[in-house]
Symmetry: D2
Subunit: 409 residues, 4 copies
């Protein structure tokens, strides 16, 4: 981002065109190695094995969400609601850093190696550390992030069912995957934002855009986030890391980057992270490169389970996936396991690395959580699910659960 590093501080986003950095501290935070590492962490993990364009990073997403925040602040101010310069800066910092705690392939990592500490915990640790380094300049941002600030709508811009995070990632993920059904008009939605009773609200005339946003979200779930081949790849990654951890616990020697070694050969708790600041530094150098490089080397490891799993991932020989509304019959699973045990010469325990079932669910809209408020011309508000008899939000609010079964082709 050269253009970035001169006075004007502009960068090029294929989605929004020219994007400006609004504050000096935003520039400084982006320059920080904690933030630069997000350049090496893909937003959608292994999704590029299905959609080859989906290589965009958490770095790019954070910048995009920051850009939308600027538009939202301007829009809300133009409607007569006060947002001070300090609040504007704080809410912009909050959205920039909202995902800072993500590690490489977060979801997989949290289900295998770093399984006692969530990325939310680590985000908090990073923010506190940065607040120290920046001499308290992030205090209000953190307060807003934690929803401890009295103007609730500021937190809702960062985290709610219609936050700048979701607006950017839906748009960005559909742009880079090429799944045009997921494209949303963030411009139009932001133009309809308003505030009522300190809560974020959408003006009634924007109701169709909201409905379209929720539908796009649901489509993205089934076509991208829960795409069955993506599920298959992510489960494969989880299994690789579980197997590696299992071997590491048996003191088996494994090629490892130094950063990965720390977390593979030992188990740390949230408390450990708090007590030993070096753990956070170690985490801060872990990224997609450590994981994929180690897996590439493990393709020739002497453990046949590990090498087989790694070869499947590297050469993209993924497991077959079936998906259905009802659970799979135990008998069917057992039969497949028996076949695979023979074919792969694996025991009763290890066969579970190759044959396994699970469930996924999507929630396009959660009626039970703080919802999306619709603001009518008369000043009254209502939850979008109840705002109109023409809409299908209630249908969208139903959680859809599916069962899947993975096994070798």
């Amino acid at each position: 981002m050269d253009s970035f590093y001169n006075k004007r501080k502009i960068f090029n986003d294929p989605i929004y065109g020219f994007v400006s950095l609004p504050y000096e501290i935003i520039f400084d935070l982006i320059e920080h190695p904690f933030f630069q590492r997000l350049r090496r962490i893909k937003q959608l993990g292994l999704t590029n094995l299905v959609y080859p364009g989906a290589l965009h990073t958490r770095f790019h997403h954070a910048m995009g969400a920051m850009h939308l925040m600027g538009q939202a602040i301007e829009e809300i101010r133009s409607k007569g609601h006060d947002i001070t310069e300090g609040e504007a800066k704080a809410v912009t910092i909050a959205i920039l850093l909202h995902d800072i705690g993500h590690g490489p392939f977060s979801h997989a990592l949290e289900h295998s190696i770093v399984n006692n500490v969530t990325h939310e915990d680590i985000s908090q640790l990073f923010m506190n550390r940065l607040n120290d380094e920046f001499k308290g300049e992030l205090t209000l941002a953190i307060k807003i992030f934690q929803n401890k600030y009295h103007k609730k709508f500021l937190h809702q811009l960062v985290s709610s069912q219609l936050d700048m995070d979701r607006l950017d990632y839906l748009k960005r993920d559909s742009f880079f995957t090429g799944v045009s059904e997921g494209v949303i008009s963030s411009d139009r939605i932001i133009k309809m934002l308003n505030v009522a009773n300190d809560q974020l609200a959408v003006e009634a005339k924007g109701i169709y855009s909201i409905e379209k946003f929720l539908i796009a979200r649901r489509l993205m779930y089934w076509q991208v986030y829960l795409h069955k081949t993506v599920l298959s790849a992510e489960n494969l990654l989880v299994n690789i890391l579980k197997r590696a951890k299992e071997l590491a616990q048996k003191k088996v020697d494994l090629f490892c980057t130094p950063a990965l070694k720390i977390f593979l050969y030992k188990q740390y708790s949230k408390k450990d992270f708090k007590n030993d600041p070096k753990l956070l530094d170690a985490f801060a150098i872990l990224d997609d490169y450590d994981i994929m490089t180690s897996i590439k080397v493990w393709t020739t490891h002497t453990d046949p389970v590990l090498s087989m799993l790694c070869t499947q991932l590297v050469n993209r020989r993924l497991l077959k996936v079936e998906m259905q509304n009802l659970p799979f019959k135990e008998a069917k699973i057992l039969q497949i396991k028996n076949e695979v045990k023979k074919r792969y010469k694996v025991n009763d325990k290890d066969v579970n690395y190759f044959v396994f079932a699970g469930t996924v669910a999507n929630d396009a809209y959660r009626g039970d959580k703080i919802g999306i408020n619709i603001l009518f011309k008369d000043g009254s508000t209502a939850d979008v699910a109840k705002a109109s008899d023409q809409l299908n939000i209630d249908v969208l609010a139903k959680t859809v659960k599916k069962h899947y079964l993975c096994y070798p082709k």
Copy 2:
């Protein structure tokens, strides 16, 4: 690419939408580990440090060029020129594999580690190997690729100043960088393709599209390919790899992935590659992950030059770059070097890793090479540079050379 692996074989391209695979062998070649590795090699190397979206891979580009080839074949056939099924399949294979020999950060690698063997050499080796594996099915494709086939226009679709390679990469690079000045209308250009005297030609009414294509190409050179911050980053990478090689030759111990170790600690010639097929297999597992992972680890190496260079790249603390039309004065360079020697405590030789000058040049159109033919309604043809007095192709045909100087901020 799940959708890929079923019967219909479609994949999603954010640029072209749905793309179909035209032949069974194309599917099989894509599945081959030699081709799958291109998923892990970025098309534009370190350009994402300036344009964060530029993470697209050689895999994706090869698929895109293949898609355009299908359109070009259809268009040329529709104008009454014969292309047999065998030729169509061969020219499609040729474009799919045209870049198969690229290693990670090709340009940097060829100027540091693998410096006796070009990516063109390796492409040829990969193609021959694949031809063996596919029992001669690639013979015609290789013939066309090497321009040994009598229908010259087929080779020109793969490699010329208006080939499907260029059409796709200009479009793709401008799409993912967000540099909209580089966007070209590949559809329009392909609709204007024709064949005259066995040479590829563009119909006269397409002359403005060609002019726009050449101008877009020139803009992409200066705004992306030769962007000064990109230059700075690439030179930094070359210097890192040179330093590592220097240390390796002194038997200094360096963390390395196995694949990188092979090429870092020994030097191989084109002949070596031919004599020992295992070298190609070793090359085939080298990708961006090996390079970046090793560099990340080297940030803490005991060699201060290496660790300093690597930290600069990983944390994106790039050298300052000046660019001008005239060479930099020796005196100025010397003065900077003296300052840096003191600041960094490096000797006369090592200062060159931090302070260095160079030149770059772009050629939007090479009048001295086989040009772009314009086909007039009367059947006559002319080189585009001479086809019209309204055009500025002659200006575009002038090589522009620039001098740059890099040094620490």
Copy 3:
């Protein structure tokens, strides 16, 4: 369309880019004055008073639908279903001419002046006349249009709930209005088309695109086709034409273009059109220009009702519209009428030109008609409304009815 009139026959569509004419007869039909008149008939009537870009014509829509038909034919053939050259040409002619019978502001005209003959009747008359002129070359096209051909899917491509007409107009109308919620991916839908049991079907993996298509259609209804200001404008036009007809029947002199005079001063039946071929010729010279020009002149007519109505339309002083789910109370309507009678000095009858109520309804999907078939991998088919428990088609299939009330501000 210069490019059109030379051998290559290409024209520029801002939506699809270059579009080629597939057959010589398509070119000849487009050149015919009956078809050229569609250049002077806007697709969306007065919608441009709300969406200033919505000036596109029935000519342009017919060409676009023809283009999509070419893609659909290619796709269906590629899946192994036979479509002969004769059938392809016929179905292309059928879609090109499907709307040829539309007059200017069709909907308004059919509710005022030409109220005994539908545009479908006139389409049929035009097609028969053209078939005579083209010596029977349209016979198969007409058969398909009338659903009398045994391959039912051909008719369904021209007229069904997923025909090329709808695909083009939804896309075109959202493009020119700028209502991006209505944008559909015609490419993606066409890629999913198939044929099962001689019926048009959509492959199961395209189910999300279909859902999105139906939702887009619904959004376009409420945001464009039934937009309350558009309704107000269209009702105003109906009232103008009714008033003019009323005056004409009283032999009051009105400025008129010759073409309009014919239909304003006399009433013709379907039978009259069949008996007197000159009536069709007269209709063929009637277009938007006749209507708007006459209305502009009538702004200074001595009849105060007519001149007031015309001034409202020309200067865009439209009636206020209220819209609600329940019918308006009679008392409220009466009260408004009383006020307007005084203000405008009009009698009990004429007040109805200024104050009136009505209803509108949209059907995104008609479950009671021949539906959209989903084709599963196992070869079975099902109606889209029943194809998946995840979808909301049943909600979309519910007709939504609304009541509106128009009166002066």
Copy 4:
């Protein structure tokens, strides 16, 4: 524009998305019948006969240019240059009204019927009249429009070689024609605007965007504005109106709308317009509908020349056009005239309605006029044509002249 008429005043532009009206007076001006009439005047006259989508109006263009003005004001202010609210409002009014004096098919009309008064004269008359009606609120806008205000850059935003007029029309014309070569990045250009010495300037880093803008402009000239079929149609229209005027002067009876009659049967000077305010009111009701409707009726006029010309236009049977760099030989023209005289049975004078030669010229950039200033980082400025040795502006600055010859096929 319903959304327009409520408090928020937003309208939908297919190019820019949601566009807001910045001031109450802008809304009031748009509502004025003088401005509403621009809804009925196409921006590109008969160009839709070649590019069917080119039906956009002067109304839509004026709104678009107003939108860009808002962006430019914001950008220039953000760079520390003062623009008061009064100046901002005035410059926005100036751009909104810059084309208000255009009549229908302006170019053709000025070469036939209304040939002593330019559209610039009439714009001035309309502005003065509106200023009276709005009680002097337009005084500063008129001053800026006439370049009599001391901050010269404000006038340059309205009228210069890089004004908001050009930015919008290039973008709009390429959007609606579908000639994608003409698409420009108005966003990027506006982001680079600045002011130096009270002159509008472009920052040096935007130089490639400017070059691309000039090239797009040149392409639009040759592919759209001077497209030979468009030329043929426009000359046909001029000839129709000239013939009608000729007949009118001989007191021949011609069907006419009242508005057209005034200007067809009498000749008015600039002075007449000033002396008789009713002339401006008459002009204000003249639009595309008057012209095309009259022409449609004239297809059956008893004058064979007039009826032949009108039929050619209505049924799109345009003259053939040849275009070349050198003048056509007199002998060739004579020979064609002789043939046509026989074929059409017309005399020596009337043949000139069917056979005629002319010239056209484009100027992408006028080096002799006030140019586009480039502002360098050191604060110095230079004309874009001299700003860089890499650019081809000097080539673009050369006027290209071409000769054309029209005659019946």
